[in-house]
């Protein structure tokens, strides 16, 4: 992690930035689907709307009147219907307290009908390992960091190559939602080449749950102090969703400055939802995750020597 700080320092010598306002080329909006849902005994929501222009962060126009159904590929009887709770917001409600959405190990088709056009997608729901524990590692102050505590979560990738995960973390109730904090794993490493099936998640992934914030002198502030709390969520995602999130990170995590010399140009991310009209492109993604989570309050007993 330290090398990141140094790159930033070098970059401040040579590169400078300024925010600008600019016009955008006109083009037609697209239909967007947020169909990222969870294997849980709670209501699941799918949102359908049209995209805003790039600088517009207001509520997008929602699309009502759609028929939204998720069906098990191998068992047509296992169907989940999403009813329109508000315009553009389609909700599945569990009928009993133990009614969970979808079954682990199964494949599901999403079928949406809007004004005569059908949109479909396919995904699978995989199991997720539990998070065994969370400990903190101490690192002494130097030119780049103050005395710091880095949280590490311990979980073991499930046996069998090709398990993909998305790890989210909250510090003191606040989600770490910067693009650089998107933390995805292929087995226990960053990619298939990592050859990390069945291992504990590797160190960089374990520590990506920490916030990396800097003070005015560009020195790293300790991610956690005694008394802070952390909450980590480990979600299983389909392999397609893994590549999708990797692409999202490439497109949204812009380091700026000197790093722009090495930045790739903007590219669209392929959705896994398709319209039956071959001339129509949609954006969004369909994925069902199983989740395991663990929260911890940081006390002195939680400090460990971690190599």
């Amino acid at each position: 992690m330290k090398n990141f700080f140094k790159i930033l320092l070098l970059s401040s010598i040579i590169a400078c930035e300024q925010d600008i306002t600019t016009g955008l080329p006109e083009s037609a909006p697209l239909v967007a689907f947020d169909a990222w849902i969870y294997h849980a005994a709670s209501p699941q929501t799918i949102d359908i709307y049209t995209t805003n222009t790039y600088f517009d962060s207001s509520e997008p126009a929602r699309i009502g009147g759609a028929v939204v159904v998720v069906t098990n590929v191998n068992d047509e009887a296992e169907t989940y219907t999403f009813a329109e709770a508000a315009t553009g917001e389609y909700v599945w409600n569990p009928t009993t307290p133990t009614d969970t959405f979808a079954t682990i190990g199964e494949e599901y088709i999403l079928n949406i009908q809007i004004s005569g056009t059908t949109y479909e997608s396919l995904t699978n729901l995989s199991a997720v390992p539990s998070i065994d524990s969370i400990y903190w590692r101490f690192d002494e102050e130097d030119a780049f960091i103050e005395d710091s505590y880095f949280a590490n979560f311990w979980a073991r990738d499930l046996e069998g190559p090709g398990d993909t995960y998305w790890i989210k973390s909250w510090k003191n109730g606040e989600l770490l939602n910067l693009p650089g904090e998107i933390n995805v794993a292929y087995d226990a490493a960053f990619s298939e080449d990592g050859d990390a099936d069945g291992l504990f998640f590797i160190q960089p992934i374990r520590e990506l749950i920490n916030p990396f914030d800097f003070d005015d002198e560009d020195k790293l502030i300790s991610p956690f102090d005694l008394g802070d709390s952390i909450y980590v969520e480990l979600n299983s995602i389909s392999q397609e969703a893994f590549f999708f999130l990797q692409q999202v990170q490439v497109q949204t995590a812009r380091d700026g400055g000197f790093g722009e010399l090495f930045a790739v140009p903007l590219a669209n991310i392929q959705s896994n939802i398709f319209s039956d009209d071959p001339q129509e492109k949609v954006v969004g993604f369909f994925n069902i995750s199983a989740t395991s989570s663990l929260g911890k309050l940081f006390t002195e007993d939680d400090i460990r020597i971690i190599d």
């Binding site: 955008l24 080449d193 722009e260």
Partner: protein
């Protein structure tokens, strides 16, 4: 029968004897240091014709026996005239003395004054090292590549970009040669400085079009840089101490007038200077570059001369003693000039070139990542020039290269476990054979024509893949993989490259020229970023990646005014190219064995009008160049707009497309010792891909270009003014003695009005996190690399 045959033979030989011609040949050199003068004119008045010395300073003129007045000329030097009586071949080696100038008129060109009008070469720019030294440059350091960027048709995408663009071609399409050896990355420090040490450079020639048959391997241009041989009369020391780096060049005779050497080195020391002010550099961090250019030559005899040149350079960005990026090249060239006869000049070149880059991250051996990439080239190149007669100069030769590509040798350690993932090495062979002739058809019409036959073989050992066909723009996957044996030909390609140039003299001071050339390029610089950078990868053509080919037509009008004081030209070009490489959205270029699956190929076109006006003499001189040009690509899978089914592409501007390219450079001799120069550059902003919309998935805000366009908008225009003042040291010291040290002080002001020229614009949500019930705000930010006023001082010395 026998008697008839004998009679015929006797008659023929008698006839031949009557028409027998003799050759005047030799070398033209600089009297002060023995350097060969490239492009010197050797004019035989009686036939109103002659020769221009070649890159080794050699000339050869064949005429019938008789009395002749031969004039040797080179601008900035005193001409010499020889009266000769030719009754046999004569070898005349001449040394010309530099003009001692009272009123320090700046030498702006090295060719004969009317070269631009009378030479058949077109689309060629010759820059003399003296001119280059006067142009203000970044941080006071004279730079070859920055100087050629002031010529029409040549550009760059801005500070931070490695390399240069010629007539709308990409950076990887320029053949950059240093004493015949190719240079894969001509920049240090991300384009701020080139790898060529001006203390070691003698001659710089850029071919933008009308490329002669002896050059091949790249599509757009040839930058032919010749090093000095080294003063073969006395020791000479040149150097400079500047703000960012210092240089030292030592040259001298090994054996007076027979052998000499030159060693020139430079090293930057920004990190050394900054050390007292910051502690970033305390634990092994470093930011520097160095280069060492060396050469030795030996005149074995009148007929033989050998040269040995070497270049070693490196750029280092280290974050600490374990982590960082570095890259560099090493080349070694051996050449042998041999005169088979007075009319047959030959040069044999052998070279070995190695270009590599490394990346290392990780604080300790348990968690680290190291990657190296490398391209090694071996080459042999025999070349011949046959000076047939005063109207025909024939060139022919061949070239064979062997490449070894190591795209990635990588090692990752995580929690102590080591994983090696490397992409297998690739081997390839490239060859060419050419023949050409420069023919003076009449005193008005000269033609240069020839053809090159080039070929390429992608060789084993290694795996090679057959890829599936898919909608363009999506990754292609392998459907079959085969193993090739050592040296087995996986795929071979061949191209015929005809070349043609013509010049028609309208009058003594004006001419029109036209040229046509077909070129082929077998290795490709793979780059996905806004500008070329050191991590770009060179990749060979394979069974899935075809060679690039290009056809360029150019025509121009050239005129000199007022006895060659003013030069003017207007040239237009059109180049059509095939198999231009670009990438799918989301391409993985880094350590990807299946990179071929992410590559898309299509067509390119570049066209433009170049205007150039230059004042050669006088206390105020300089030039203005303006290019109006377009460079576009059309690739299926990119910029496919509404065609979602087949994704067939529409023309889109290349990332180095700049409609207006205007440069003005001026020099003013204030006095004997003080001169000022200025240059102003204006470039249209380059295009970039802007998003049009955004969408949310959970808390993620994702950009989208709903129209499927590429390079749909432009960043703001680029313009910059630089100034410099050169103060020459006194020639005579205060006590009356002539000073041995010819020194000077150069003060430069880069980007005088402090404009933050944009390098790129990127779209993001800012650095702050947002609350759980909010969505991210998105914005656009413009990045400038070195968008600041930078003054500097350099002290140069010469003994």
């Amino acid at each position: 029968m026998k008697r008839f045959a004998t009679l015929l033979i006797v008659l023929v030989s008698l006839n031949a004897k009557a028409q027998e011609k003799f050759t005047i040949n030799g070398y033209v050199k600089d009297a002060a240091n023995g350097e060969a003068l490239i492009g010197a004119t050797v004019l035989v008045r009686e036939i109103n014709g002659g020769n221009i010395t070649n890159v080794y300073g050699y000339y050869s003129i064949t005429v019938p026996p008789g009395d002749y007045t031969v004039e040797y000329r080179y601008i900035g030097f005193l001409s010499q005239t020889m009266q000769i009586s030719l009754s046999d071949n004569q070898r005349i080696d001449i040394e010309l003395a530099e003009e001692s100038t009272q009123l320090q008129e700046v030498v702006v060109t090295a060719e004969p004054e009317d070269e631009n009008v009378s030479s058949v070469e077109m689309s060629v720019a010759n820059l003399d090292i003296k001119t280059i030294s006067k142009i203000p440059s970044f941080l006071g350091e004279v730079d070859i590549v920055k100087s050629i960027q002031l010529l029409p048709g040549v550009s760059t995408v801005g500070e931070g970009a490695s390399g240069f663009n010629v007539r709308g071609g990409s950076v990887g399409q320029n053949l950059v040669l240093l004493d015949e050896a190719p240079v894969y990355n001509s920049s240090h420090m991300l384009g701020f400085f080139s790898v060529f040490n001006p203390d070691a450079v003698k001659d710089v020639k850029l071919y933008k079009g009308g490329i002669p048959a002896r050059f091949g391997g790249r599509l757009s241009s040839v930058l032919d840089i010749r090093m000095k041989e080294g003063n073969n009369k006395k020791m000479e020391i040149n150097g400079g101490v500047g703000t960012i780096f210092s240089r030292l060049a030592i040259e001298g005779p090994i054996k007076k007038e027979k052998a000499s050497f030159i060693i020139a080195g430079r090293r930057s020391y920004l990190d050394v200077l900054a050390r007292p002010f910051t502690d970033i550099f305390d634990n092994g961090a470093a930011l520097y570059f160095y280069d060492l250019t060396t050469k030795a030559n030996y005149n074995i005899s009148d007929k033989d001369r050998v040269f040995l040149s070497g270049y070693f350079g490196r750029d280092v960005f280290n974050f600490d003693d374990r982590q960082g990026i570095n890259w560099g090249s090493k080349t070694a060239t051996f050449r042998w000039n041999h005169l088979f006869s007075e009319r047959l000049f030959s040069n044999l070149t052998f070279y070995l070139s190695d270009y590599d880059y490394e990346l290392a991250f990780g604080e300790n051996d348990r968690d680290k990542f190291e990657w190296t990439s490398n391209i090694t080239t071996y080459d042999i190149k025999p070349e011949f020039t046959y000076f047939m007669n005063t109207k025909n100069e024939l060139t022919f030769g061949a070239e064979a290269l062997l490449y070894r590509f190591s795209p990635a040798d990588a090692l990752g350690a995580s929690d102590g476990e080591i994983v090696e993932f490397s992409i297998p090495h690739k081997r390839a062979a490239e060859y060419g054979i050419y023949v050409g002739n420069e023919q003076t058809v009449s005193d008005k019409l000269t033609l240069q024509y020839g053809t090159r036959l080039s070929g390429f073989k992608h060789l084993g050992p290694g795996s090679y893949y057959t890829l599936n066909d898919t909608i363009p723009g999506f990754r292609r996957s392998p459907t079959d993989v085969r193993q090739a044996d050592d040296w087995e030909t996986i795929k071979s390609y061949m191209n015929l490259e005809p070349r043609f140039s013509a010049k028609y003299q309208l009058s003594k001071t004006s001419s029109v020229k036209a040229s046509f050339n077909r070129t082929a390029q077998y290795i490709h610089l793979v780059s996905n970023t806004t500008a070329s950078n050191p991590l770009d990868i060179w990749t060979p053509s394979t069974n899935n990646i075809k060679p690039q080919t290009g056809l360029q037509w150019a025509a121009g009008y050239f005129r000199n005014f007022k006895d060659n004081t003013y030069e003017f030209s207007l040239e237009t070009y059109y180049r059509r190219t095939r198999n231009q490489i670009d990438y799918i959205d989301g391409a993985e270029l880094f350590i990807n064995e299946l990179i071929e699956g992410d590559v898309l190929a299509g067509a390119g076109r570049a066209y433009g009008l170049e205007f150039y006006a230059k004042k050669n003499e006088g206390r105020v001189n300089g030039w203005v160049s303006y290019t109006l040009g377009r460079s576009e690509l059309k690739i299926d899978g990119i910029n496919f707009l509404n065609d979602l089914e087949n994704r067939s592409g529409n023309w889109y501007p290349a990332r180095y497309d700049q409609l207006h390219n205007f440069k003005a450079t001026g020099f003013y001799e204030v006095s004997n010792r003080v001169s000022i120069s200025a240059n102003f550059t204006y470039l249209t902003g380059t295009p970039t891909t802007f998003p049009t919309h955004r969408y949310q998935i959970e808390y993620l805000t994702i950009p989208e270009n709903s129209a499927n366009t590429r390079n749909n908008l432009r960043i703001p225009d680029y313009h910059r003014l630089d100034l410099s003042i050169t103060i020459l040291g006194r020639a005579i010291a205060k006590n009356g003695w002539v000073r041995k040290n010819r020194d000077s002080l150069v003060i430069t002001f880069y980007n005088v009005y402090n404009r933050k020229n944009p390098f790129s614009i990127y779209f993001w949500q800012g650095e702050d996190r947002f609350a759980i019930d909010e969505v991210a705000e998105t914005k656009a930010t413009q990045v400038s690399i070195l968008g600041a006023f930078v003054p500097s001082v350099t002290y140069n010395f010469k003994f």
